[in-house]
């Protein structure tokens, strides 16, 4: 066993320190349960990483379901996937990647304490996020007019697809799995869309807070933690895009 020397303990600012008083971080920006700003920052970041681990498993469960059906019904999934608009999906990928880049810049500016720049970059991010959802809405509307939304009243398998499925040797009682692709597509992109929407709301609040605290400059943690969340939302899309859009693009059935 080892003994902490009093000098070492004092270096931690712990001995003889009155916890009930506002403590010695100088500017009163640290919540009561923390000793100092670095500890608070570490906790905030680790908290967000832990939350993202939860989110990974959340989408992981869904991707597992996707893999099971992709493996069980590769033809149905491929035929259904051909209806997705690769060009719009590709543009949306770029939109999200650029928005993530803006967030990365905002985090760097936040550490420099440059509130004006941070707010500008966050507004840019919000604009791009809205653009992403707008493009997604265009895609979903087109799907609706084609009758491809399994939750809608006008759902039916396009006759062209029925022919292709029959040509590729799929029995009629297996056509249900064609519908399942659309269920998973809307569920996965819908859940991702909700995450984007939440991110936009959070960024709006964060931008307002950053502006409010532009003098105290106490906003670096806030921007960094929400930035982590946004990068995660971005990465989820980077997985969803190839899983859903880029299936069997050179195979038969076009």
């Amino acid at each position: 066993m080892s003994v902490e020397s009093p000098a070492h303990a004092a270096a931690h600012g712990a001995v003889g320190h009155e916890p009930s008083q506002p403590h010695g971080n100088g500017h009163g920006l640290v919540a009561h349960q923390f000793e100092d700003a670095p500890q608070q920052r570490e906790a905030a970041l680790l908290g967000m990483w832990s939350f993202l681990a939860t989110e990974v498993l959340f989408f992981g469960g869904l991707i597992t379901a996707y893999v099971v059906y992709r493996w069980k019904a590769p033809v149905q999934v491929a035929v259904a996937s051909h209806h997705l608009n690769v060009a719009l999906g590709c543009i949306n990928t770029c939109v999200l990647l650029v928005s993530s880049f803006l967030v990365a810049l905002a985090v760097a500016e936040a550490h420099r304490g440059n509130a004006r720049k941070v707010v500008q970059l966050l507004i840019g991010t919000i604009v791009l996020g809205v653009a992403f959802l707008g493009i997604k809405a265009v895609e979903w509307t087109a799907d609706y007019h084609e009758g491809l939304i399994p939750f809608a009243a006008n759902w039916q398998i396009p006759s062209h697809d029925l022919e292709i499925l029959a040509q590729r040797g799929i029995d009629a009682d297996q056509f249900g799995l064609y519908k399942l692709f659309w269920v998973l597509y809307f569920f996965m992109t819908g859940l991702h869309g909700i995450h984007v929407l939440v991110g936009l709301g959070v960024f709006a609040v964060v931008a307002a807070l950053v502006w409010q605290r532009r003098r105290s400059k106490n906003f670096a943690n806030l921007v960094e933690v929400t930035g982590l969340y946004w990068h995660f939302v971005d990465i989820v899309w980077v997985f969803l895009y190839p899983l859903l859009y880029l299936i069997d693009r050179h195979g038969p059935g076009h």
């Binding site: 902490e4 931690h12 349960q33 500890q39 681990a53 939860t54 959340f58 379901a65 939750f151």
Partner: protein, 576 residues
């Protein structure tokens, strides 16, 4: 150590702490603690103090425990006779055992020890003022109460009949009961669990007092850390499984229903990916409690600290790899079954390390049989029986015979009730002086522990025999030859019910008495015993600095010092 004798004012049992500045002794006359700091309802319902939130959890889990217990009592009454005499319909029986399972698992066992003892003790044990995110902590209690109340309401008005397992396609296509609201309640409550786990992980990483290295963490903290890993990694998968059930039920699409092209085994995979690790969410906190009680009442350092901490993490990790043993006869591939069976045996290794090391800790120690120790010993014995029968069920061939029989029911009740609830009660007794500042009556405590132990074994041991003889679970009628064992089980359940009411009464009664427990009645090591009982709102009058390893008990001291923790102290003793 001899360089700084002043850091050890009262020998080994005091741990090692910085000296108290004389100025603090003025708190002697009117000790302000977390209980009397404020009295308004608002100061409780909006509290950010982890200790008060722990007590809020205590109220919640106790309430749901008795609700689930009433359901169990009616089930056992029904099973006293071979015919359907009490409930009159298999449908009512199905709803009742589902209610028992849902309430007990999601609203009692999962939040019980982490929510009450974990919340209360984790910051105290690592020398922190609070958890890292006090607001999230309060939010998690509100989510839990909201989910629990919603579940309770829908279980009373209609209920569900799927069992707590929600197996598809019955739950998605055939059941006419309130599956969707129940799924939403479980989904919402999951966030409470996730937030608690997240809070514990971050707190353990970032809030430790100076000198509280990972190698000096009490095993209680290690166990809660391992539990938290499961909470944040397992719960979201349950959430997605429940969402998919809801989707299929709402829109009639065949994700799980084979008639619509879906795969029912997929649901079982997703469900058990959470729900097997969830068993360890319920069990590891029980081990957390026993880890603290056993060294204290044997006056010896825990045997093999590093192995004990490693075993907790190993159980958490391996627990994620064995879910398929719930599905041996469900149609999963035989090779998957073989691998899951092998891994199931593998997870027994760290569990056995725990049991052997507790026994080695007690070996040649001066064991003192106070109430918490009785519960801890009960835990060790009953957990061993539950674990070994788990290995029987983990063997492919035996499982074909025993699957879905009362053998399974007995097995998991030995783990859940014999393990978790014994540990929960042991922990409440052990830390009651810290939580309330008062001792419980020891004679009644011992009596209660004895009644619970006897009642428990009489309830559940006959169920091993029933299952082995072939009585299937979840039936409300059975052939006459099973009646003797069923009557024994029901008789045991009545004894068990009395056993649970005894502590409830004397704990509440003890609150009327003066707070005279003193800061460390058990002369235990650990930071939580160094502060006042009940602790002040900010936990420590002086931020602690840790200089000694955990469980720094001295066996020689135990031989010489008289032991009477129930002697009321004339004057409250404070830090130092």
């Amino acid at each position: 150590m001899s360089d700084h004798p002043h850091t050890h004012p009262a020998g080994p049992a005091s741990g090692g702490f910085a000296p108290v500045p004389p100025a603090l002794s003025q708190t002697r006359r009117a000790p302000i603690n977390y209980l009397n700091a404020a009295y308004s309802v608002r100061s409780w319902l909006l509290t950010l103090d982890h200790k008060r939130i722990g007590l809020l959890y205590l109220i919640g889990v106790t309430f749901f425990f008795f609700v689930g217990g009433v359901a169990a009592t009616v089930l056992r009454l029904e099973l006293m006779t071979p015919g359907g005499d009490v409930l009159h319909s298999p449908d009512a029986y199905n709803r009742l055992f589902t209610m028992h399972g849902v309430i007990m698992i999601f609203f009692f066992l999962v939040p019980a020890i982490p929510g009450v003892l974990g919340n209360f003790l984790l910051p105290l044990m690592i020398g922190a003022r609070d958890l890292a995110f006090p607001r999230l902590n309060l939010l998690s209690w509100y989510i839990y109460m909201f989910g629990g109340t919603a579940a309770l309401i829908l279980l009373i008005f209609g209920g569900i009949d799927t069992g707590w397992t929600f197996y598809a396609p019955f739950s998605t296509t055939f059941s006419n009961t309130m599956v969707l609201p129940a799924g939403i309640a479980v989904f919402i409550t999951g966030f409470s669990s996730i937030l608690t786990g997240l809070n514990f992980i971050v707190t353990t990483h970032t809030m430790r007092a100076p000198g509280m290295t990972w190698g000096r963490l009490p095993l209680f903290v290690w166990a809660h850390y391992a539990t938290s890993l499961i909470m944040i990694l397992g719960t979201p998968v349950l959430a997605i499984a429940v969402l998919l059930i809801g989707l299929e039920r709402l829109f009639g699409i065949g994700i799980f229903d084979p008639a619509l092209g879906g795969d029912p085994i997929l649901f079982q995979h997703l469900f058990w990916f959470y729900s097997h690790p969830a068993v360890y969410i319920m069990l590891l906190p029980g081990m957390a409690v026993v880890n603290e009680i056993v060294p204290c009442f044997t006056r010896r350092p825990i045997f093999g600290y590093k192995f004990m901490a490693g075993a907790l993490l190993a159980i958490a990790v391996l627990g994620f790899l064995v879910w398929g043993h719930h599905m041996f006869v469900s149609g999963q591939s035989m090779y998957a079954g073989l691998i899951f069976s092998f891994l199931t045996f593998f997870v027994a290794v760290p569990s056995a390390v725990k049991v052997f090391n507790w026994c080695a800790t007690m070996y040649k120690g001066s064991v003192r049989f106070e109430t918490p120790m009785l519960y801890a010993l009960g835990f060790i014995g009953l957990f061993t029986i539950g674990g070994v029968t788990g290995l029987m069920l983990g063997s492919l061939g035996i499982d074909v015979h025993l699957h879905d029989t009362y053998f399974v029911v007995a097995h998991f009740h030995y783990i859940m009730v014999g393990g978790s609830i014994m540990a929960f009660l042991g922990g409440i007794h052990f830390w009651w002086p810290k939580i309330s500042g008062r001792m419980y009556p020891e004679l009644w405590g011992k009596l209660g522990a004895l009644v619970i132990f006897v009642g428990f074994n009489l309830t559940f041991f006959p169920q091993f025999l029933l299952g082995y003889l072939g009585m299937p679970r979840r039936y409300y009628e059975y052939p006459g030859e099973f009646q003797v064992l069923n009557v024994m089980s029901t008789a045991g359940a009545s004894i068990l019910a009395v056993g649970y009411i005894i502590p409830l009464i004397y704990f509440i009664d003890s609150l009327r008495k003066p707070a005279n427990a003193g800061r460390n009645p058990w002369r235990a090591t650990g930071l939580e015993w160094q502060t006042a009982s009940p602790p002040p709102t900010e936990n420590f009058a002086v931020a602690p600095v840790v200089t000694t390893p955990p469980y720094n008990y001295d066996p020689a001291e135990a031989e010489q010092t008289p032991w009477n923790p129930f002697q009321p102290e004339q004057e409250p003793v404070h830090v130092g």
